[in-house]
Symmetry: C2
Subunit: 309 residues, 2 copies
């Protein structure tokens, strides 16, 4: 009997997200909850409420380094509560269905390959541009089983300190965290900007959306910071183009919304840095599935495993 549905879980960002997904990649039910310290309790409660006889299996996308075969999360800097736990095994024992575990950005890449912006490509690299920067690599229509921690390529030898302990990482320059920190630090120093009008002047509450909006309206500080972050993203893109020579780079995550300034600057910088012949053939495009890419891709693991999609 061919069970109709899979559960896809995204344990990657600020929310825990769980969805019921069909064999065509369609989401028929979706739940989310803010990530907390009791994330495992929340996860099991959500799974209990959504599980049925019609479930073929469960796929998990998790922020951090994942041991596919062992089913373990080796490191998860943002969700330490799940580090070292054999989450796949625990879920398998409770629900008695096949369980797949994968890095969250890898799962998102698989989602985009299955029914998203990557559908037409054999080889692409997904960048997740959010608080941090992650990556997932599709090669020959399959998810490449590598760390793909593209946010932690050093792009500046003696550069800024990164959360990972290294310095000069792409993430330390081009992530939402980096953008917010640059803006706040300028405002603290009294730099003039329309951004000061937001949140009653409490600029610690600014979001990258606020910054992008003001940048579009011509605010100098907002434009400068977004452009500088974009320039660094362009370096990261050029590095990946020169090493992986993909057919496409797919840009996902909240920051990809800042296309007209941040991403345009990145494309301009990458065009200067990558090998011309490689840059000429790569398409740089936005994600199609947005924040659903991870849950769809995780569910896709249940139907396709790590095989060609």
């Amino acid at each position: 009997m061919n069970k109709r549905l899979a559960i896809g879980i995204d344990l990657g960002g600020t929310n825990l997200r769980v969805a019921l997904v069909t064999r065509d990649g369609e989401i028929i039910r979706k739940e989310k909850e803010p990530t907390s310290e009791k994330i495992l309790d929340s996860l099991f409660r959500l799974l209990d409420s959504i599980f049925s006889e019609d479930i073929a299996g469960i796929g998990l996308g998790v922020a951090g380094l994942v041991d596919r075969e062992g089913g373990k999360i080796t490191i998860s800097p943002n969700i330490p509560a799940i580090e070292g736990i054999n989450l796949a095994k625990e879920i398998r024992e409770r629900f008695r269905v096949p369980v797949f575990i994968e890095n969250d950005a890898n799962a998102a890449a698989l989602g985009e390959k299955w029914i998203g912006a990557g559908k037409e490509f054999s080889d692409f690299v997904l960048f997740t541009l959010g608080t941090g920067i992650g990556g997932g690599i599709i090669k020959d229509k399959k998810l490449l089983d590598v760390a793909a921690e593209i946010g932690h390529m050093t792009i500046n030898t003696d550069g800024e300190k990164c959360h990972c302990g290294n310095s000069g990482c792409l993430e330390a320059y081009a992530s939402a965290r980096a953008i917010l920190s640059k803006v706040v630090s300028a405002l603290e120093k009294g730099r003039e900007s329309m951004l000061i009008r937001f949140h009653n002047g409490n600029f610690y509450k600014l979001s990258v959306e606020d910054i992008y909006r003001m940048a579009l309206e011509g605010d100098n500080l907002a434009r400068e910071v977004l452009k500088e972050a974009g320039r660094h993203l362009g370096i990261g893109i050029a590095n990946i183009v020169n090493v992986m020579s993909p057919e496409a780079i797919i840009l996902a995550g909240g920051l990809a919304g800042a296309w007209d300034i941040y991403i345009q600057e990145a494309i301009k910088e990458a065009s200067k840095r990558a090998f011309q012949k490689l840059f000429d053939t790569v398409k740089i495009i936005p994600s199609l599935l947005g924040e659903d890419a991870g849950i769809i891709g995780s569910a896709g693991l249940v139907f396709h495993g790590y095989r060609e999609i």
Copy 2:
């Protein structure tokens, strides 16, 4: 009838190298000639002299971007004479055997996988450390069909000018060309060093071997320059470890000989920058085949194609 031999060609470095290789990867005859503008004449002459009825096919490793399927060399900055030429087709028409074409560092990676330092690994990345820096990636026991231009990852945003047109490339800091240029520039400024005793004081004739030898004897300039180059190589290694999470990094090319200073410094730097868990599992080892890796790997293409070795 199973023909016994393949011809492997390495069009990568300062010499054109051609060899007869058995199905076991053993070289039974080897020819080399300095690369010149008439490289194609030399190549065909060598092939004419070495070809026999026992040849199953011909494999070529070529410096630059290679179009596997088309058989063409898209760009070859060091050997412009072969750019744009459909070399595979020309050779195929002349000798009427299967012809394979591949990037030279990729071919070397394949050689190391077949009978060299990479034999035991499913996933590794080869760095070729010479005048320039190249790379080849073995994933799941197969050569990954990507550019692998790891020498042209930007590791320093506003860094030194590179031959490729970009600035801040790994190659601009960690290659033999970069090391020689740093040493010469210091000597031109009158910096004291034992290196001045070589070649009757004509320091433009220094080689990286000279520099390494004097570094081992405690020469400050030689040590400084090699260590600084090694530190930058370490950044390149860390970037590759974080993105490709290989089981091994194999270091080939003349500079890998400077193991005790240049490579040791690189390993130290990479250990600080890469994700600890990834670094703990990666083995950083020297090439086993040395300058024969390319001809062996190119011949291997004839016997194995791009399939699993």
